[in-house]
């Protein structure tokens, strides 16, 4: 039965969900651009794409876990860890290939540990990843001894984070490639489709004879792979690793991007493309706010509000209490 002419909060929510996110993003960016025309300058746009790439990559890693039905508090910390590791290796004289391999290996390893804790030890995802997050933070600060590890420009390696093809940053192209690969995986392969299903409705997945635990494991491994790789990118982008080890800022931005991305779909479906758009939007917003004279410190507050609003859009129609079921 259809309810006619009744504008319930649910309907407003649905409406906002369908179109609101995209329109809202465009309006906000236009407003920022109007006040500071520099914002729409082509070089600035390229800068934004470069700035947003690392964040978007982390968000993509997180999206993989969220799609599989897990959660990861340690996404940012893992990136920091592999970033430091890469910087350390490069300083010690290792080559680009070695740095890449070790970063990715560590990433996959951490993903596997998380999956082991969650699936075999039956520790709730939140606590398990919180624990590994602390351990990773500890290892990172032990490794860098509390100092920033700065690397000199290594030609082959610097291309990853600093290079440009024509005027487009290489790092952004990498994001696009990863995005296309992931989108293909989740939308056009058997395994990806099943991961979606087992994350969204495990009961249904089990009814069809799918082993949901296997897909959760896979999602952690994929996410670890992406995050490990992102750490290497971050190292190249940042000329080394900073001493700030928490990775919490990364986490909040990545979570915002993933959830904001999910508001593109009416049903709140997490999607790879949505994540990429939202990640870039968050970068553009930070950039635009700074151009408009807002300080760096206030931007994290704005991001906090965006995080809350983006999730609010998807939950407002259910209005359950926000209990946490993952610990």
């Amino acid at each position: 039965m259809l309810d006619k002419k009744r504008l319930r909060p649910a309907k407003v929510g649905t409406l906002l969900l369908g179109k609101g996110t995209g329109v809202g993003m465009v309006i906000i960016l236009c407003l920022l651009g109007l006040r500071a025309p520099l914002f729409f300058d082509i070089t600035n746009i390229m800068t934004i794409l470069k700035q947003g790439s690392v964040l978007t990559m982390i968000a993509l890693g997180l999206t993989a876990v969220l799609i599989g039905g897990g959660f990861d508090m340690g996404a940012g910390a893992l990136v920091q860890l592999t970033c430091n590791l890469t910087a350390g290796l490069l300083i010690a004289g290792a080559g680009t290939a070695a740095a890449l391999t070790s970063g990715i290996t560590v990433g996959i390893g951490v993903g596997a540990v998380n999956a082991f804790l969650v699936i075999v030890m039956k520790i709730p995802t939140f606590v398990a990843t919180l624990g590994t997050m602390f351990i990773m933070q500890g290892i990172t600060s032990w490794y860098n001894g509390g100092k920033a590890l700065t690397i000199n420009s290594i030609p082959g390696f610097a291309v990853l984070g600093q290079g440009r093809i024509a005027i487009i940053p290489v790092i952004f192209l990498i994001v696009i490639v990863v995005c296309i690969l992931m989108n293909y995986f989740f939308k056009h392969t058997k395994t990806g489709l099943r991961m979606y299903a087992s994350g969204e409705n495990p009961a249904a997945a089990r009814l069809r004879g799918l082993n949901t635990r296997r897909y959760l494991l896979l999602s952690y491994v994929i996410s670890g792979l992406i995050l490990g790789f992102t750490g290497v990118l971050q190292c190249s982008y940042n000329y080394g690793a900073s001493a700030i080890t928490s990775g919490m800022d990364f986490l909040i931005q990545a979570l915002s991007a993933a959830y904001l991305g999910s508001t593109f779909s009416k049903t709140g479906e997490l999607s790879v493309i949505g994540t990429v758009i939202s990640g870039m939007f968050i970068a553009a917003l930070s950039n635009g706010l700074i151009i408009n004279g807002i300080s760096n410190q206030q931007i994290s507050g704005v991001l906090g509000i965006i995080l809350i609003l983006s999730i609010l859009l998807t939950v407002i129609k259910k209005r359950e209490i926000g209990q946490v079921t993952i610990f």
Binding site: K122, G131, M136, G146, G301, I308, Q323, V324
Partner: protein, 322 residues
């Protein structure tokens, strides 16, 4: 019962307490200064605000919520109190200001999470960043608010909480004991505490039994922010200055304390007594790390390991019980 089963049973039931004792003993063997009376008193003193903050987290987690913003609230509340004193207000206004701030953030959290349905992790994570941003803006990018250089007359009352003794015991510890007693009764003995237990286990049953689920759930967030603000005031009063972002690491400690605390309860519940024990354990752990001259790196690793161990033990315990 087979031998293996018996052993499992034993580990599940008493593992936590034995484990804590063993760890402390090992510390003592490595570092003989560890168990000296003055050291222990020092640890008690410095653990007091962790205990207070941990209670907030305990309350929230006892209804299956979570509050990632408490460390930031404590931080900001301390800064606010310090700034109020610096601007010439008296100690009462400073403390009230800090607590009001805690109340405000608590109410915002409660509305977002309990009444609008934002998942607690996301809602409080967002608020954590909002608070941090406000705090940094307020202090022009994390300038420390230094009180101990002020004339003693202006800060005497404010420092009373953190630096004075009544008889042989410090005010800080006495205050903490009061908070422990109050929170014990609220959480374990009161009508409110009973509602909390019910909501933790079965929201639908609680609702149908006539409990105002949203209000109780929201109230825990208000309590948690208030306690965090109190902890912030205690810290600033003790150290005599407020360093923005100085309290952030306490969030980690809270988690470890709360999860270790669940092991003390026979049903793996988040409970006040357990949280006190957990917080003290974390306090001794930090102390040991300091005594040994190890840095934050080791502390983080220890925290992570203990959190995973505690929860794994909890899972084992509930499996043995079942």
């Amino acid at each position: 019962m087979t031998g293996e089963k018996k052993a499992l049973n034993f580990i599940a039931r008493h593992g936590a307490v034995i484990g804590i004792c063993c760890v402390l003993l090992i510390f003592q063997m490595i570092e003989p200064r560890f168990m000296r009376i003055d050291n222990i008193l020092g640890v008690l003193n410095s653990s007091s605000l962790l205990i207070v903050m941990t209670f907030g987290m305990t309350m929230v987690m006892a209804v299956r919520g979570i509050d990632l913003s408490i460390a930031q609230v404590a931080d900001a509340a301390g800064v606010i109190a310090a700034m109020l004193i610096l601007s010439g207000k008296n100690f009462a206004a400073a403390i009230m200001g800090a607590l009001l701030f805690g109340l405000l953030i608590g109410i915002v959290n409660a509305v977002l999470i309990s009444y609008l349905g934002v998942p607690a992790i996301i809602g409080t994570l967002g608020m954590m960043f909002v608070v941090r941003s406000a705090e940094l803006t307020l202090t022009n990018g994390a300038q420390p608010q230094i009180l101990f250089t002020l004339p003693a007359a202006r800060v005497k009352h404010f420092f009373f909480i953190g630096q004075e003794n009544i008889g042989p015991v410090s005010v800080l510890i006495l205050l903490t004991v009061v908070v422990i007693v109050v929170m014990y009764f609220v959480k374990e003995r009161s009508v409110f505490g009973r509602y909390m237990d019910a909501i933790c286990n079965n929201v639908r049953s609680s609702l149908l039994a006539g409990i105002n689920v949203r209000r109780v759930f929201g109230a825990t967030f208000v309590i948690s922010s208030l306690l965090a603000a109190l902890a912030g005031v205690m810290l600033v009063s003790r150290s005599g200055n407020a360093v923005p972002r100085g309290v952030e690491t306490y969030l980690t400690d809270c988690f470890v304390a709360v999860y270790i605390g669940t092991l003390v309860s026979s049903r793996n519940k988040f409970n006040i007594i357990g949280s006190v024990i957990g917080a003290l354990f974390v306090g001794f752990l930090s102390n040991f790390i300091t005594l040994m001259g190890m840095g934050i790196a080791y502390k983080n690793i220890f925290n992570g390991v203990f959190i995973i161990l505690a929860v794994a033990l909890g899972v084992l315990k509930s499996r043995v019980n079942a």
